[in-house]
Symmetry: C2
C-alpha cells in the first residue's frame, strides 16, 4: 500500500521556505513491496543511481582479473566521483592496464566538482580531461568489459553496442522485467538511461542486497560490488560526499548510490532490502535527506547519525545557522 | 480566481524526468489580482527578488546625488551580480566615494559565480572579498543610505537598524500591508527576509510599475530604479544571466529580478502590472522559465524570444541535445 509522498522541507527562521516531494520504495528480492510512499509505478530515469547494477557486467566479464584490478576499481565503476587526484590517477592507470587511454573514453569532459580541484588545475595551467568526468570509472568499466570480451570499444555508449545490451540483460535478471522494452533517454555521459518503474529499480537493488535468487555468476558479482563500495567509499564519490560517508560508516550494512535529478538507490544486505527514491523536482539535496531518513527508519543509523544526516543545517554566507533541512512531519519526520 | 499551479517540466528523451510546481500572481497597483496560479496567499521569503523594492530607500535618501553615483550604482543596488570585474570594481569605487571600504560590508564573502572569474582569482593568487558577494551592491546601497542620513553604519543588517526599518516602511507603502507584522528569516547576506504573501509581493512590484497611487517621493524613485535596471542590465546580474538578458531586451517594457529558492519578481510599466513567482521546491531553473512564460503570456515577448526562453535545451556533457525545459501543457505550455 502506497502512502502519501516523501516530503522534505527546507526552513529559514520560522518559515518552511521550500518543499520537495517524491516517491520511495522499499522492496524485497522477490518483488514484495515492504513499504512505499508516493507513486512507485511511475517510470523514472535512474541516471547514476543504478551504477552498482551496471557494474555487474564489468565484474562478471573477468576484466578485474584480466587487467589486475582491485576493489578500488570496482568502487570506481559504481562512482559519480569528484574528479579528485586519486580518482583521476586511478582511472588513468586503469586504462593503461587495459591498453587503453583517456582518448577511448566517450563520456566527455567537465570541470571537477570541488573548488580545490578546480583551483589546482588552474595553478598547473591544465584543463580537465575525460578522466575528470564523474562517470569516468563507469566508462573505464565499460571499456574494460568490451576489451575482455574482444569487442570493438568504439561506440560502447550506444544502445545497440554489446556493452549496453549486457546492462539491459543484467537489469532484466535483477528486476524480473524486460529492460529491452523500456523507453530511454540519453544520460549526461552519453549512455542510454532506461525509463524504469521506481519499484523495479528498488527490486533490482534488493536482488543485489539478497542475491539468493540470482545465478551464481550474478550473486558473486553482487557481493563483490557491495564489498568494494564499503571497502573503498572514497572511490564511490569523494571528500565530504553523502555516498562516501554512508558507505564508509555502514560496512556490510548499507551501500548507497546517488543519481542526477533527485534519484537515490540503496542496498541493505542484512535486511535483504533494496531502496529506490525519486524526488519529482530533481533535487539532490532532498534525495540525500530522504535516503538518510529511510536508513534511520530501517534502524541502521545511530542516534548521532540520524541527528547529523536527517537535519543538516542551512547556513548563510557568513556561516550563521539560518535554517535546516528535514523530513516533514507528514512523512517520517 | 486562482487556477492550478505553475508547472515546469524537464524532459530527457521521451520522458518527463522532473517536474516543478509553484504559484504566480499578476496584480495591479490597487491590489486587484488580474490572474494567478496556485496558492498566492501563502507567505514566501522574497529573498533577492525584492531588491528593486529595497533600492527605493537608497534612491530616496539622496545618496545617489550626495556621492555622485549613477544608473550603474542604482542597478547594482538591485543586483544579484556575478562578481565579474566590472561589478567588483564599481562596488569598490562606490564605497570609496562614500568614505567607506569593503570592511564595512556585512554581507560576507563567497566565490564569484562564473568559472572564468574563479580562475582569474586563482591566477592572481587572490581570494574573493566582500565586493564579490552577489549582494555587495545592495549592501553598498544600505551603507550609503545610512551615511546619507548620518546614521551609524555598523549593524546595518540588523532588524532594528533604521536601514532595515525603512525597507519595511517602503514595503508597507507599496503593498498596502504592515510589513512590521511579518515574521522573518535571515537571508544569505544577513539581512531579514520578510515572510510576505506572494500576492502582496506582486502588488508591491505593481506599485513600482504603476506608481500613480504612491507619494511623489516613492513614484520618482520607482521610475529611476526601473530605468536603471533597463539602462544597466549587466549590473543587475551579469554575463549570460536571465535577468540581464530580459532587462536588456525589453527596455521600458519589463524589469525582472530573481531571488534564491525559486522566487522571481517583475514589473510591467506599460501594462501597470506586477508579477511574483515562487516555485515551491526552490528551483531557480524553473522560476526563470515561469517568468519567461508569463512575459510571453502577457504579450511582451517576440516569437523568437518565446522560442528561446520558454524551451531552453537540456544538453549532456558532450553538448548533445538530450531534452528541454518547458511550461507544462497543464499550465501555459
Amino acid at each position: 500500500m502506497s502512502k502519501g509522498p516523501v516530503v522534505i522541507e527546507v526552513t529559514r527562521g520560522p518559515v518552511v521556505e521550500s518543499r520537495h516531494e517524491g516517491a520511495a520504495a522499499i522492496v524485497k528480492a522477490d518483488g514484495t513491496v515492504v513499504d512505499s510512499w508516493g507513486d512507485i509505478d511511475t517510470r523514472i530515469l535512474p541516471r547514476s543511481a543504478n551504477k552498482p547494477i551496471q557494474a555487474m557486467a564489468f565484474v562478471e566479464s573477468g576484466a578485474v582479473e584480466k587487467f589486475g584490478l582491485g576493489k578500488e576499481h570496482i568502487a570506481l565503476s559504481c562512482a559519480s566521483h569528484n574528479g579528485e587526484q586519486r580518482h583521476v590517477e586511478t582511472v588513468r592507470a586503469w586504462l593503461k592496464k587495459a591498453n587503453l587511454s583517456e582518448a577511448d573514453l566517450e563520456c566527455g569532459t567537465h570541470p571537477p566538482r570541488l573548488q580545490a580541484s578546480i583551483e589546482a588545475l588552474v595553478r598547473e595551467n591544465a584543463a580537465p580531461t575525460a578522466a575528470f568526468n564523474n562517470c569516468s570509472g563507469k566508462h573505464s568499466g565499460f571499456l574494460s568489459t568490451a576489451v575482455a570480451y574482444g569487442e570493438p570499444t568504439k561506440g560502447y555508449i550506444k544502445y545497440d553496442h554489446p556493452v549496453q545490451k549486457r546492462l539491459r540483460d543484467v537489469m532484466s535478471d535483477l528486476s524480473g522485467e524486460k529492460a529491452d522494452d523500456y523507453a530511454y533517454g540519453t544520460d549526461g555521459c552519453g549512455i542510454p538511461t532506461l525509463a524504469t518503474p521506481l519499484k523495479s529499480l528498488a527490486r533490482a537493488m534488493a536482488s543485489m542486497a539478497d542475491p539468493s535468487r540470482l545465478s551464481n555468476r550474478h550473486a558473486e558479482a553482487a557481493v563483490r560490488i557491495r564489498d568494494a563500495m564499503n571497502a573503498e567509499p572514497f572511490m564511490v564519490a569523494g571528500s565530504g560526499r553523502f555516498c562516501t560517508r554512508i558507505n564508509e560508516a555502514l560496512p556490510g550494512v548499507a551501500q548507497v548510490k546517488t543519481g542526477a535529478e533527485g534519484v537515490f538507490c540503496g542496498m541493505l544486505p542484512g535486511l535483504g532490502l533494496g531502496v529506490a527514491i525519486k524526488m519529482w523536482d530533481g533535487a539532490g539535496r532532498a534525495a540525500e535527506i530522504a535516503m538518510a531518513t529511510l536508513l534511520g527508519h530501517l534502524g541502521v543509523l545511530s542516534a548521532a547519525q540520524k541527528e547529523e544526516l536527517l537535519h543538516p543545517p542551512v547556513k548563510n554566507v557568513v556561516g550563521l545557522l539560518v535554517g535546516e533541512m528535514r523530513p516533514a512531519k507528514s512523512w517520517l519526520g
